[in-house]
Symmetry: C2
Subunit: 246 residues, 2 copies
């Protein structure tokens, strides 16, 4: 942190940087993990897809800037807590100038319809699979692929140690709905009985409402409805099951 030892502040003593924020908004739709992207209206990378974000104002906290930019570009407000993913500041990541971007993660249930605003031509949810991984078909602007990758990794970790999975479903919810969130992110089917037992054994994860949901169109026994509990962390954590060798 320490600037030059000279007591007085010399504005020429340090190179000026631009500081921006980018936000990775993830949700689960149609049993797949999705990320919110905007189509850039201007160069550089005009017409390409990118994360919502923008410049931090003077005297504005980083997290506040992330919330503001997200609202401006996508109309999303009153989001749950933003979690910082880290700083991305390689020289050359923006072709115009030296920029350090601080990335944030927001985990939300199915979104209200997003509306493109300010610099964004369009804003839409995109399956993570189509952006990251071997079968990706959509290239992202800047180093936003790296940022999305970090966001997805953090989301997976948060699912195991915090109750954010409840943020992906409507309230109240059935344990089957909650289970499908984990199945979507882990990409494997879970045993309904074992999942139920494990979830109910974690204090403060979910609370019963005493009510029941209507069965789906295919019939089946009505499921009990739950709400998110008060826990901040899952203790013990809900780790991804490992198939037994046998």
């Amino acid at each position: 942190m320490a600037p030059k030892p000279a007591g007085a502040y010399d504005p020429g003593a340090y190179p000026p940087f631009a500081v921006t924020v980018d936000v990775v908004v993830v949700t689960v739709v149609d049993e797949s993990l999705q990320v919110l992207l905007i189509e850039r209206g201007a160069d550089p990378f005009g017409g390409q897809w990118a994360l919502p974000g923008g410049f931090v104002h003077e005297d504005e906290a980083l997290e506040a800037a992330a919330a503001r930019e997200l609202a401006e570009e996508t109309g999303l407000e009153a989001l749950p807590a933003l979690r910082q993913l880290g700083a991305f500041g390689d020289p050359g990541r923006d072709p115009r100038m030296r920029v350090v971007s601080v990335a944030y993660l927001a985990v939300v249930p199915h979104l209200p319809p997003v509306e493109a605003g300010s610099d964004a031509r369009r804003a839409e949810l995109t399956p993570v699979r189509s952006v990251v991984g071997a079968r990706a078909r959509r290239r992202l602007a800047f180093d936003h692929l790296e940022i999305v990758t970090a966001g997805v990794a953090r989301t997976r970790a948060l699912l195991e140690t915090t109750p954010i999975a409840t943020a992906f479903v409507d309230h109240p919810f059935t344990l089957s709905e909650l289970r499908r969130v984990y199945e979507a992110v882990w990409g494997r089917a879970l045993d309904p009985g074992n999942f139920r037992r494990k979830v109910l054994s974690i204090p403060g994860f979910v609370n019963p409402t005493g009510r029941q949901a209507a069965p789906g169109p295919e019939g089946g026994k009505p499921a009990d409805l739950y709400r998110a509990g008060r826990a901040i962390r899952l203790d013990p954590p809900l780790h991804q099951p490992v198939a037994r060798s046998r």
Copy 2:
């Protein structure tokens, strides 16, 4: 990320920031976790203790800046990988101007004697206990207490999921020496037999050398010597034991 949609680059369109890096260097000495601090030579916070760090140069990667500042202020070079802890950029964290600092963590074995350089009046290892927690007696400059806290938390997490504990001991080492690292960080005694069995069951954590160490001044059976293995992650992880209710 997206700047204003105007195609041309307008240098007046964004507020200029200073960007700095700070480094949390942690090690284990005398069975306690310690952090490297420098005494600031100049205002603000002249005479107070702070983390080594400084301004990022133009066209310099963030991590490279962290390594350079560390070398300049403490003489430390050729450190193991620096891990990013995150960005700290509250308005007002530096009384002179708007500064965003990107913090890094370095985990090292006992250090070569550190020598204060450039702006640092002194540089020395300080027990984490005397800086963070209820019985802290040393106040840090800026928001460096917050950064140190993040670094210590990350260190604890890394101990459980990566082989960095081997970076805290000399090579080759005995399993008792390795065990004392965990005991120092977790603040509790571990069962030597169970620790041994657990460590040896994690593939790639440690490799036997076939040699033995001389017993200590108190006697005892000579211990086998080991070296760090090739594993990048501990799988399964080495979690802090939970005492059995009984």
